[in-house]
Amino acid sequence: MNIKKIGALLMAVAMAASLTACNSSGKPASGSSDKPYIAIVSKGFQHQFWQVVKKGAEAAAADLGVEITFEGPQSESDINDQVNMLKSAINRQPDAIALAALDTESVKEQLNECLTKGIPVIGFDSGVPNAPAGSIYATASTNNYEAAGIAAQKLFENADFQAKLKAGKITVGVLSQDATSESVTQRTRGFIETLTKLVEAENAGSVEVVGHDLFKKAATADVKLTIKVNIPATTSAADMKTGAESLLTSENLVAIFGSNEAAANGILAAANDGSEFSDTGRYKDIIAMGFDAGKTQRTAVENGWFYGSITQDPYQIGYKAVSLAVDAINGKAAASPTIDTGAKWYNAEALKDESISQLVYE
């Protein structure tokens, strides 16, 4: 009776599935090709950052003659999705795997499986921090602590900041996406500690850090600078905006720093896409800085609403991840456990330089 109809529906699903499979970047589904196959498991797709990483990986794959797949969970808190992706990648019997782990603990068993099966694992972006010894071939990543330190250095060099610091008690806000991911934590820490060091070089013990237990520090002398850290409840855009708003309305706030694209976007969203930082805006006296790039952040920097931002080199991260994987497949020993892919400070002036502008994805 209606079995026919239901059968037809099922076939429709199957056909739709195969249709999209054919359309998706023309990747052959069954492993028929002789090229080495590298499965890349990233941390997400949510941000344009990953699209540039993918572009770099694809360029390397074309240059080096390998086949790649690039996948990642829909959001950076979907640990279970990423673990499933990694398992699926291992089951596909790749020649190498490139991994940007959301959390090392959750993938330890899979890393062990790769080790026993002899599949080399390459870390990229935040890599796989504290991975079991011998499970990671090498990691292509930005030194996040130092990269964020550049922002602290630039803030300290700023004349307005210096004047206000001399005049009295000030506050600097730091918006951090989470206290979980190694890269975000390192950046937040890099910014806070570098700024603390710079300010305390002149006034020992005059900096306090408040807002989150992970970064908390009490002042041992008269407080000159309060660094206020805010970590929103979830990584959603709405919560990031709320977090930024609470920082922006803090007393004596002179500067604010967002330690990744989501955090910078939160600050931008709280300031009417950044225009409130303009000479006529509500927050005109606040020095705003971000990390990574993206259309709105880039525009804010171009217009001088943001004092400047730090960019990683996502293209190089993707490219070097694949080239490291090829080295591993060819049995070459890794030159060093981490390959720094670099970071740059960019402001309105620097964006006119093509070599920097191309790193700042939109």
Partner: protein
């Protein structure tokens, strides 16, 4: 005319009986179809997926089924009563977070933590039940509130810190070989999936509760006609509270297997997982309007979703395609449900 017993919609009892019998027969058919779909999909992915036909993949499919299946078992009871529980995903995550916190920050033994996980989840289920059955809140609203509360409590208790359960390589990680899988051995190169036994036992328990006990009979009865059950002197509130509490307990069992499988629990997550469980129940042929549904259908639904997501990954498709196709399957399953009801209603015309 006066001596004919009438029930809702003014249908003679025999018509309702015939209609119900037809729907039950149809449901058996749909279960068969769901099973066939599961098989067809699996074969399809074996042909078109990259190295899909392997025991490694089979184990991965099971791994990603466990936690959804446990939540789905619990919510099957709730949905059969005609209710809904939106809090299961966050309840599961919240109890897992608190358990992980007690383990890592308070140094409690892992076994005690796992027991506490189940107790916490059960307590939230009980709160749902009281809000709905005693305080007469609509299930959607009561469980929406508890969903947000559990998400918040998880973050508050852990101070928005990620919680980690012991991994398989430390002494405390032994619980993994009971609830998830054993370390790899010569006989089982990707580890023996002991989670299958854990899930299997609770599947049988859930099936027994639904089919062979008073609780199960009242679950169906409340879903078919709550008023009639109440009028026949049954304490509906008591049984409803029990159903939601049971659903909470299953969230606790789910939390254990989630922690064992994924080790790391992030605060603020869990929202959306309830929809996976609800989708599994719907695909399994349980009617959202209550009164109809089976536990085996739910099991098939959960497996089908796992095969779909693992299979699409093996074909190199991104996560968003998986979500899309899962959605498509849910819509098809409900279309089938509507079609089935139409057939059942057609019996009315035959009788009149």
């Amino acid at each position: 005319m006066f001596n004919t017993v009438k029930t809702e919609q003014n249908q003679p009892v025999e018509v309702l009986e015939a209609r119900k019998a037809f729907r039950v027969k149809q449901m058996g058919l749909q279960k068969l179809l769901a099973l066939a779909a599961l098989f067809i999909l699996y074969v399809f992915f074996c042909i078109f997926g990259k190295n899909f036909a392997s025991t490694g993949t089979l184990v991965s499919i099971l791994d990603s089924t466990y936690y959804v299946a446990f939540m789905a078992f619990g919510i099957t009871f709730v949905i059969i009563t005609g209710g809904i529980d939106l809090s299961i995903g966050t309840n599961m995550m919240c109890s897992a977070l608190i358990g992980g916190y007690l383990y890592s920050a308070k140094g409690l033994s892992i076994w005690l933590c796992l027991v506490i996980v189940v107790i916490i989840a059960t307590a939230f289920g009980f709160i749902n039940g009281v809000l709905i059955a005693k305080l007469k809140l609509p299930p959607f609203i009561a469980t929406l509130g508890v969903m947000m509360m559990t998400q918040g409590i998880g973050s508050i208790v852990t101070n928005v810190q990620t919680q980690r359960y012991p991994s398989g390589f430390v002494a405390d990680g032994f619980y993994k070989s009971i609830f998830y899988k054993t370390a790899s051995s010569d006989l089982f190169p990707s580890g023996f999936p002991s989670g299958l036994i854990y899930m299997g036992i609770f599947f049988l328990i859930a099936m027994f509760l639904l089919n062979k006990t008073k609780l199960g009979r009242y679950t169906y009865a409340i879903g078919s006609n709550e008023e009639a059950v109440r009028l026949s002197g049954v304490n509906v509130a008591k049984w409803k509270i029990l159903v939601y509490t049971l659903c909470g307990a299953f969230c606790g069992f789910s939390a254990i297997v989630y922690a064992a499988t994924y080790t790391t629990i992030i605060p603020g997550t869990g929202g959306g997982l309830e929809m996976k469980a609800i989708a599994a129940v719907i695909i399994g042929g349980t009617s959202m309007s209550g009164g109809l549904g089976t536990m085996s259908g739910t099991m098939i639904g959960a497996l089908l979703m796992s095969v779909l997501s693992n299979g699409l990954m093996a074909m190199g498709l991104q996560g968003h395609y998986q979500t899309f196709f899962t959605g498509l399957v849910v819509v098809l399953a409900v279309l089938l449900d509507i079609y089935r009801n139409k057939k059942a209603n057609a019996i009315k015309t035959l009788h009149s």
